[in-house]
Symmetry: C2
């Protein structure tokens, strides 16, 4: 295997006996070059195995034809659904996509602001309001996911978490439940708060006192939820008959706790989650939950971002509604 020194546009020009500008024109389909010349250039390029250096190209032209998807949470069910939707949408519009998982805050900002991509989709909890100001100052077209954009010019797509919490709770109330438990997420989780707000709202509207409803906190993981629900069920005099969990994993933990104590899910205790992760439909009993339009969020984000790159001024905040997915983990309240 002979390693050949990297060929540049100059080498192609020499071999084809034309200037480098002609090579550039020929290769980029600018229609000012005769077919014969173009053929000659193409042939020379092929012969040399020429591949344009994208750094040079991008430095000069000022655009990368790349969109960046910045995220810190690679895991989780959202991630690949989003990446898939975004990458497809982006490709359709003649752009490329890069997923960038920055190791620290500085790397993150350097990549957003350092002309690496023409626009950014940010799904990132490292980012703060100052960063947003920075991005605005550098006028990098940007779309925020799952995070409201404070201020104009930056668009965002968020889920209607409060309404989802409200709808889910109403569904449980309609099944006759009057003592509802809420399994909250981490303290600082925005969505979890909103879901709880919706929960309270529905409770109050039904003429019940939301302060009397048990809230177990910090339970975004299966095991934590399992332990908490198990001990709650063990010690509570008159336990809740239905549980609304902050997410599906937590709901699954709750179901396992219920089963472990010899109770039946749905029959004895109803459980509901949020997100409709892949597992939820396979778990037995299959989990009743609320599904967010993740793929749609990705597609909308790409559309908006490309419009912004092409000059449209951003600043829209779109709220996407979830959808109730009723399965087998919920049932009528007993008496």
């Amino acid at each position: 295997m002979i390693v050949v020194k990297k060929k540049t546009i100059k080498d192609v020009a020499e071999l084809a006996n034309v200037s480098i500008s002609t090579v550039s024109n020929a290769l980029n389909g600018v229609n000012v070059v005769t077919p014969e010349t173009k053929q000659r250039v193409l042939k020379a390029a092929a012969e040399l195995n020429y591949v344009p250096n994208l750094m040079g190209k991008q430095l000069r032209s000022g655009e990368t034809k790349m969109l960046g998807f910045f995220t810190d949470s690679v895991s989780g069910p959202y991630f690949y659904v989003l990446v898939e939707a975004i990458s497809r949408a982006v490709a359709k519009l003649g752009y490329g996509m890069q997923v960038i998982v920055p190791s620290d805050h500085k790397t993150l900002m350097n990549n957003i602001l350092g002309n690496v991509v023409d626009g950014a989709i940010i799904f990132e909890h490292m980012i703060n309001d100052d960063d947003i100001q920075q991005i605005l100052m550098h006028s990098v077209p940007t779309v925020l996911l799952d995070r409201p954009a404070h201020g104009p010019k930056m668009s965002s797509f968020i889920f209607n978490s409060q309404a989802e919490g409200y709808e889910a709770t109403k569904y449980l109330l309609n099944l006759g439940h009057r003592r509802l438990g809420f399994l909250a997420g981490y303290e600082n989780n925005h969505d979890s708060h909103l879901r709880y707000a919706g929960f309270k709202q529905a409770i109050e509207e039904a003429g019940l006192n939301s302060d009397e409803m048990p809230v177990l906190s910090g339970l975004f993981e299966e095991e934590a939820s399992y332990n908490a629900v198990k001990s709650y069920l063990h010690y509570a005099d008159e336990p809740a008959t239905a549980f609304l969990a902050g997410n599906d994993l937590s709901a699954i933990g709750a179901m396992k706790a219920i089963v472990s104590l010899g109770y039946k899910v749905a029959e004895d205790f109803s459980v509901m989650g949020f997100d409709d992760i892949e597992i939820s439909q396979y778990f037995r009993p299959a989990l009743t939950t609320v599904r967010n339009p993740i793929a749609r969020q990705g597609i909308l984000a790409v559309d908006e971002l490309l419009a912004m790159i092409n000059g449209r001024v951003g600043g829209t905040e779109q709220v996407l509604d979830g959808e109730l997915v009723i399965r087998d983990s919920t049932g009528f309240a007993k008496h």
Copy 2:
């Protein structure tokens, strides 16, 4: 919000009253600049909100400090486990990672060869032997995943699919099964073939005739598998008592088919899969399967790639062994 024109190193130099080379040195920690000058530069940079243009930097220096993970299959359980493992490993070594999902073959090759990244991890079925030659010629450090590297200088990490198929089949044989069905993947799937080879090997070793064992093909999806198994079970005179599926999704489809006909999984028919995707442990009955060390594959790939970037010559092909995960979908053969 006032949009300020993008600041360059030149602006910083002017404000700090030094030359641009001094700015560069100060900013990059080259130790040839007095602390006072450095302070002045840093202050000026902060004041102007200066962020270096990575295109310029990379064009000049010839390195991007970025590794590229090229993939076409975003979905699937492998994907995010790999991305997560790789991104962590890469960050630890002072590099960044980009996931690049090319829309077509040309984009793929341009991104690999166009100096966008210092090295490539390729998990890609678009790539063929010619492409590999190209990459070698351009001497881009590259690691292949799930695909043997033909020839020297390119390293690869593959799973030991044949051994896995062999072990899984032996496990089934040890449970007393004598009629085993194989649910094969797509025709052109490398792993599926190898797993089948292992299957045959174990069958023959046990003194049975592998040609008598039913093989259902093209079943890498749940529904296809469901339908095929259902009709097989319906029409077969003396059906197999155990099924080895080419992957977990296919195994799940088979289990659903078994249940839909009123049989019991494990008791009446054993089912086994490959991959140990997340669902498998949650599905009831939980699936017996073979787990591949995906995260480990990613970490090894990064280590190898960085060594290659730093001059070590590649060409190693490492085979990673899977691990039997015994759950509830398999049981002793009846009689």
